[in-house]
Subunit: 220 residues, 2 copies
DNA sequence: CGGGACTTGTGAAACCATTCACAATCCAAC
DNA sequence: GTTGGATTGTGAATGGTTTCACAAGTCCCG
């Protein structure tokens, strides 16, 4: 299989979300132009993105909504459910635990860890908070770790997560994480987004214009 | 001024964060290679990023930490404080309100809005929640709006935010937002990151390798 | 004061992603 | 059937970003 950019994968997620909505609304067929319009991209981009994975449309007609939905779910690995551990039962963690959409998309938070002895053992959003010290053993069978601890603790937690053989990490700490090359990391960095807005605000005055893409997650 | 990519701006934020840390640790001078290593990029990339905005280093020596810090703050528009409104006093909103780092970086949340009559008028994290109906008038003097309402309500809220002449939006709803071209929007989409991890997990089995960049915020 | 070690700033080259443009295909209608 | 209108899939062209490579500048030490 050829190499596919993260941009493409991110757009496939966006397409899938739209398709799910349209399916619920009873739409059965959709052309690349309409899909593109609703997702903020171009028809050519939609077709190129899909072409990396096969051919899903019918010339002259467009795409079958249920078929394309299934195809995208397959490509993205969403035909199975994923076991997720949350590390750090703080403010962000609470929001994530309460958020039902992840579950709806196939991500089950099945374990929560915290270092604070006052929290360990208490029930929280339906799960018992486990001791941070038990990470190595308790992460057996976990597919994805969400790291929601202070930045200063993040690398240490990640090292242990990696040692426990977890190969995907969603990181909320605003810090660079070093991981071996077989581990995928995505970082959600809100401060960086705010600073991007700050830049846009001061530069609209100076007359700067439309800007293009951004870097992101690392692997390795 | 030439056009600078969002990738570059995002990296400048990352550099600034590192510099702030190093300054606190008493480091006074830093070469592009070391900065790159600590930020997960290349020395050439660091120098190219900076070169869009001027020349900040000394050949043979590297960069002065305090000087480069000030330069980056200037470039990113962080020499002033920004007035931020939070719209949607839910789970995510609570995490954001409690998060002190934004304030430390120059972003002050000075108003909170919610549509739920049970919440309006109550004090919440030190601010009184205002009626959603008052948005248009109460957004006077706001620089940035954080939209943390359900996806179904987001476009409606955004239209009113734009009508109130706010020109920068940080969006947490997993939905495409239409805004006029002079308004900057950045979306934080965690579901999309999780799906990216799902893709990485199913494709490491299939032997896919390192992937490159991703799209993001739109303007216009 | 000159040589050596080091580092920046920057054109040019390489790489990657997006857009263009069109032949191939499909459906419907007659 | 055959025609017309629509839409896909994809090489080629374009546009943008990252990496390379090196001349120019700085510092230190003898
Ligand atoms: N709250 C926000 O809006 C926000 C926004 C952007 C980024 N972040 C980042 O997200 C992370 C979490 O933020 P938060 O607001 O939820 O913080 P928080 O302080 O509310 O929660 C952090 C939790 O992590 C636990 N913890 C600390 N060290 C640990 C360890 N080694 N192992 C396990 N648990 C540990 C603490 O006991 C605490 O419960 C931080 O890195 C923060 O910078 C938060
Ligand atoms: N909680 C998470 O971890 C999480 C993760 C990813 C994305 N999100 C997204 O963030 C957004 C907020 O999520 P949440 O978990 O905080 O939801 P929530 O239900 O806890 O909060 C939403 C709040 O918005 C208010 N609201 C609804 N319509 C409004 C309107 N028109 N004007 C003003 N306020 C209005 C509601 O009264 C509620 O208080 C959603 O779009 C969600 O999809 C949340």
């Amino acid at each position: 299989m050829k190499k596919v950019s993260e941009s493409t994968i991110a757009r496939l997620s966006v397409y899938l979300r739209l398709l799910t909505e349209l399916a619920a609304a009873g739409v059965t067929t959709l052309a690349s132009g309409e899909l593109a319009r609703r997702c903020g991209t171009s028809a050519a981009q939609v077709r190129k993105d899909l072409s990396f994975f096969g051919t899903f449309g019918k010339r002259g007609l467009g795409y079958s909504v249920p078929e394309l939905t299934e195809a995208l779910r397959g490509i993205l690995g969403l035909e199975r459910r994923w076991r997720v551990a949350l590390i750090g039962a703080g403010k962000i963690g609470a929001a994530l635990m309460a958020y039902q959409d992840f579950r709806r998309q196939g991500f089950d938070i099945v374990a929560v860890f915290d270092a604070d002895p006052a929290r360990v053992g208490t029930e929280w959003q339906g799960l018992v908070i486990q001791r941070d010290a038990d990470l190595e053993t308790s992460l057996q069978g976990i597919d994805i770790a969400i790291v929601a601890v202070p930045a200063s603790a993040a690398q240490g937690v990640v090292n242990r997560v990696v040692a426990a053989d977890v190969r995907a990490i969603l990181n909320f700490a605003p810090t660079k994480l070093d991981v071996p090359e077989h581990v995928a990391v995505k970082t959600v960095n809100m401060a960086l987004e705010l600073e991007g807005l700050s830049y846009a605000l001061v530069n609209e005055a100076r007359g700067a214009r439309r800007v293009t893409s951004r870097p992101a997650a690392s692997r390795g």
